[in-house]
Every structure is written in structure tokens, then in C-alpha cells.
């Protein structure tokens, strides 16, 4: 499995590094292990959910379409239930192997401090992640 960092996520991580070198160290160690052990991401995903950006009362065609198209954007929920977890939310796109991709790809799209982002539909991070994901399709 390939694991790549989107330029916007790279900026996120650089920004986090200025404030919390140990937290970023954990994050990068986990990403390294996910890359070398695809079973690990499967185990983490069993505890996670597909992100749903719908707000419910404000559904419009564009949003429904967006939600459908971001079905492969995932978050690592395991980090939120563990007291020793990393205080970041991580969003990534998963792209399966196919005609033009020999092996699956995980592209990290965002890494954000938990206290500043909770998957709000209109949050700039949400909008950015959706746009970046769509650009990768």
C-alpha cells in the first residue's frame, strides 16, 4: 500500500509540529506503521466510521452529491476513544488498486487538532477535504 501526504495535509502537520512535537511524532509513527502493515488500518477502520458531512435539515443536491462522492474519506476514530490517543483528527482518502493503480493508495487529506474541528459541514477544513478528494478522483 502507498501512503502519501496531500500538500494541504503537509501544511497541517507542519503547523501542528510547531506546537506539539511529541504528538506529531506519534502521528508519524502510526502512519509509518499503517504503511508497512495494511492490517493495522483495517483494524483501526473497524472502530471508525465513514464521515458524514450532512447536517440533516440543510440537505441540497450539491451536498447529497458531495456526501456520495466522499464515501471513501475516513477518519481514525480509534484515536478518540483511547485516553492515550493523539489529540488530532485525521482524514484520508482510500483509493483501491485498479487499471491505473497497481496497489491501493491512502492519501492523507487533513490533520487537525480535535478541539478546533468536529467535522462541521460548513467548516473550511470539510470544504477543503471534499475539494481535494474530488480533485484526486
Amino acid at each position: 500500500m502507498d501512503l502519501t501526504i496531500h500538500p494541504h495535509a503537509a501544511d497541517d502537520i507542519r503547523s501542528l509540529l510547531k506546537q506539539d512535537v511529541n504528538g506529531v511524532g506519534k502521528l508519524l509513527a502510526l502512519l509509518s506503521e499503517i504503511q508497512s502493515d495494511p492490517d493495522l488500518i483495517d483494524r483501526l477502520n473497524q472502530q471508525g466510521d465513514v464521515v458524514e458531512f450532512e447536517s440533516g435539515e440543510k440537505i441540497n443536491a450539491l451536498r447529497v452529491q458531495s456526501v456520495k462522492r466522499i464515501a471513501d474519506i475516513w477518519r481514525l476514530k480509534a484515536w478518540e476513544s483511547n485516553s492515550h490517543s493523539i489529540p488530532y483528527r485525521l482524514l484520508y482518502g482510500y483509493f483501491q488498486a485498479g487499471q491505473f493503480r497497481k496497489i491501493p493508495l491512502v492519501e492523507i487529506l487533513a490533520a487537525v487538532a480535535r478541539k478546533t474541528y468536529n467535522y462541521e459541514p460548513d467548516h473550511p477544513i470539510t470544504l477543503r477535504v471534499i475539494a481535494d478528494y474530488n480533485a484526486l478522483l
Partner: protein
């Protein structure tokens, strides 16, 4: 005016209105045609492979290498505590990513990945270097390597 110069002059007369319209210029005339300069393409930042990204961050912040080592120990405790003994588990407990172990053994990350998956029939030299890097006895390193190799080839 020779034939070629005349043709160019006629061409300029016919193309100038087009360029004026295209670029909205009122200054261009047949004697002062529009100059087109080649625009540089906009360079779009590319996604980076994880290892390359980590290397660039570590170059910028010398504290990060030690933080990643500590992070690897955290990964071992959080996600591999109940896993059976293996080279991977030992590496994480020692505080190393595959890339860090590769550097310690003077080899490549992909070689370490194959070693951990039991895809390498390791010789004495590799066993010795692995044992030294993971601070373990060579016979213990051999047992772990052989277990992976047997699992892969069963």
C-alpha cells in the same frame, strides 16, 4: 520590400485586429503588433510519499526523530500489545520505524518490509546486523525470522 517581408507585413495586417480583440489592446497596430510572451506554467504542489515527507520534516526539526521513536513505542503498546512476538513488534518496542531500522542496518526500507513479511531467506550477516540493531541475541533474532519465513512458506 522582398516577397517574404511583404508577406509578413500582410500577415501582420490581417492578424493584428484578431490579437487586439483577443487581448483587448488598443496600442497594437500593424507597425506595433502585439508581443506574446510565453507564460510559465503554474507549479502545483504534489503529494509526497510518507517517507519523503518525514525526512523533510526531520531535516527541519532535529527533535522529531526522537519523537517518532517514542511514537513507535506508543504504537507497540497501543496496537501490538497482544500480538505474538515478531520482528515488527520488537522493532516498535525498540522505538524504530522500518525506515529507522533500515538506516541502522545500512539497508533499504523495502528490504526490512520483506524481512518482516518472511520474504527474505536471511543469512548470518543479516541476522547479526538485525540482532545488533534491535539489541537482541542473534539466536532470538533467528527464531523470529524463521517463524515469519515458515509462516510465509507454509
Amino acid at each position: 520590400m522582398n516577397q517574404i517581408t511583404q508577406s509578413l507585413s500582410e500577415l501582420s495586417l490581417t492578424t493584428t485586429p484578431f490579437f487586439n480583440k483577443l487581448f483587448g489592446s488598443t496600442a497594437a497596430t500593424s507597425s506595433n503588433p502585439v508581443k506574446i510572451t510565453r507564460a510559465e506554467p503554474i507549479k502545483k504542489a504534489k503529494s509526497l510519499p510518507l517517507d519523503q515527507f518525514i525526512a523533510s520534516l526531520c531535516a527541519d526539526d532535529p527533535r522529531l526523530d526522537a519523537a517518532i521513536s517514542e511514537g513507535s513505542r506508543w504504537v507497540a503498546q497501543s496496537f501490538y500489545a497482544e500480538a505474538p512476538a515478531s520482528i515488527r513488534k520488537r522493532r516498535l518496542e525498540t522505538g524504530m520505524t522500518q525506515t529507522q531500522l533500515a538506516i541502522a542496518m545500512d539497508t533499504s526500507q523495502s528490504y526490512i518490509a520483506k524481512l518482516e513479511r518472511g520474504e527474505i531467506n536471511a543469512g548470518m550477516d543479516v541476522i547479526g546486523r538485525l540482532a545488533k540493531a534491535l539489541s537482541m541475541k542473534p539466536e532470538d533474532a533467528f527464531i523470529l525470522l524463521f517463524a515469519e519465513y515458515e509462516k510465509k512458506h507454509d
